[in-house]
Amino acid sequence: MAAPVPNRPVRDRRLSRIVNVGLPYLWLGLFFLLPLGIVLRISLAEPALAQPPYTALWEWLESGMVTIQLNFGNFMLVWADDLYLVAFLNSLRVALVCTLLCLLLGYPMAYAIATAPERWRLLLLMLIVLPFWTSFLIRVYAWIGILKANGFLNNFLLWLGVIDEPLAILHTQVAVYIGVVYSYLPFMILPLYANLTRLDRSLLEAAADLGCRPWRAFLRVTLPLSRAGIIAGSMLVFIPVVGEFVIPDLLGGPRTLMVGGMLWTEFFSNKDWPLAAALAMVLLGLLVVPFVLMQRWQQRAEARGS
């Protein structure tokens, strides 16, 4: 009777450890590594008029031999064709500019919410999150109504007399910037807000006491201490914007060539799955490598600090 009792917790603990450690790995394996492997495999195939529309990676020959065909041509094409390079650079530029714009707009908003009286904070946060209750697609469509030649914005400006003829904003890069900044601003504000509410107010008082005017106190204390929030917010904006498809497709024009649109075209219009997959892999590489390096660098900087 007494003997099995001590064993029970041990087995329970082992089970809970397997669940705790295994579940995230299982999740990552199933929904990240496996799809990534499939995309990688497709990127190494050749397009074919078949179902699925690409060649098999290996073939069993009757002689018992296995032939493996790896086609690196897609990757070569991605590098060789200027079109893809332009799309990549454009995507990076749009993402970079929009991240900076979101930061410039979002930081003061997050700061204002974080320093607002307690009873206002929840309401202000609600206002930030409220747009999420409407479908993303509908919100982007709404911008067409605002930005088009006889839309709200142009009519308003004409009525004010600021302009004589409607501005051509829709289907330009500017429209893409507006749409992206509008859509991704909450992703910048929320992590910044979470970071700034934790800021100890007495640190700012100490800075003032030691001779800092408010603006300098902000630069020397608040800003460096909110670095983690700035990085988190910037990543949450930058990464998805690089691959953004819907906004440039709806609001952008023929000159707003971005990787997201490129992928769409290759997959669905040209039915060239291997090339699209290769594009996706290159995009992933371009995004992941700098971030991993940055994180390494940051960890090393922190280790050096301690």
């Binding site: 640190l203 100490a206 030691l210 800092c212 460096p224 600090g305």
Partner: protein, 378 residues
Amino acid sequence: MASAIDRRSLEPWQDPQAEPYVRIERVTKKFGDIYAVDDVSLAIFQGEFFSLLGGSGCGKSTLLRLLAGLESPSAGRIHIDGVDVTDIPPYHRPVNMMFQSYALFPHMNVEQNVEFGLKQERMPRRERAERVAEMLDLLKITELRQRQPDQLSGGQRQRAALARSLAKHPKLLLLDEPLGALDKRLREHTQFELVNLQERIGTTFITVTHDQEEAMTMSTRIAVMDAGQIIQVDTPTGIYEYPNSRFVAEFIGSVNLFEGKVMRRDGDEVLVESPLGRSLQMHCPHPLALGTPVAVAVRPEKIKLCMDFRADAVNQIAGVVEDIAYLGDVSIYHVRVGPEKIVTMTLANIQPRTEQALTWGQEVAMEWSPTSGVVLTD
């Protein structure tokens, strides 16, 4: 040693000609409808170690923040070294503060924290480095200069914060509960260090504390505060021996209060009739009208055992020992002298306890001299 004697003999507040270094004139601070500081006036002299003492919410911290410029008064003026600083923002005041939480910048190491204020006043690099080294040396934290605040112990953090607040050589150093975050042993040790430091550098210190022992040990003078007002300002001895009110008497140390009425005046002495049926004759320099309700305050250690108890004698009272607290060096006796009244008496344990006569349930007579207590009207 010499400086310690100087400090005690130097009592500028006794000199009516002396110019106060810090002058707080009828300052009031309201938060909404609440008076945090209520019409406070105070004069503090150069080189003082001045303590604001009171319970939580008495306004002592607000008064300190008003001096730092972190709050601005609803009414009244503040002068520091002859300059009206009432409307000067904190970053332009010749005043520095050590915060209760220390408020060290977590993204800077100790050296950078100490250097911070000097950089703000654009001190040249070489001079800055010298000053930082001097401060780190003064507080004996030179080896910790590369550490981040989260790698410091509580005591080390306190030193770093002190070094930072002294680095700019402020005219006035404000300390908000400077020892509040330290454990008891470290606190006792640091009290003396802080006093020695202050004597060495000569800066005027104003500290806020809720710990009366801390205030008594460190201060040249103490202001006891309650509900936004200053109740009494005096030296530690003055506060303890001559409290001006029941509040101060009870706030500092323990005290026996005998309520009664003034029956007779005889020169500097008054005779107080107590409802306990005893007459108390006390020294009292201020004139009091006959019949004034008063309280006679006598500290427990001023009460002695009485060898010749007489029913009609003054300042004598008899009772039954109800409780004994043996503290080693002294014992505290609670003696019931009436149905509602217990007198506390402290006796030094000169003899080992077993040889002492007093025990539970024993009848004892006690007495005190007319000069060992005060007569309170407030």
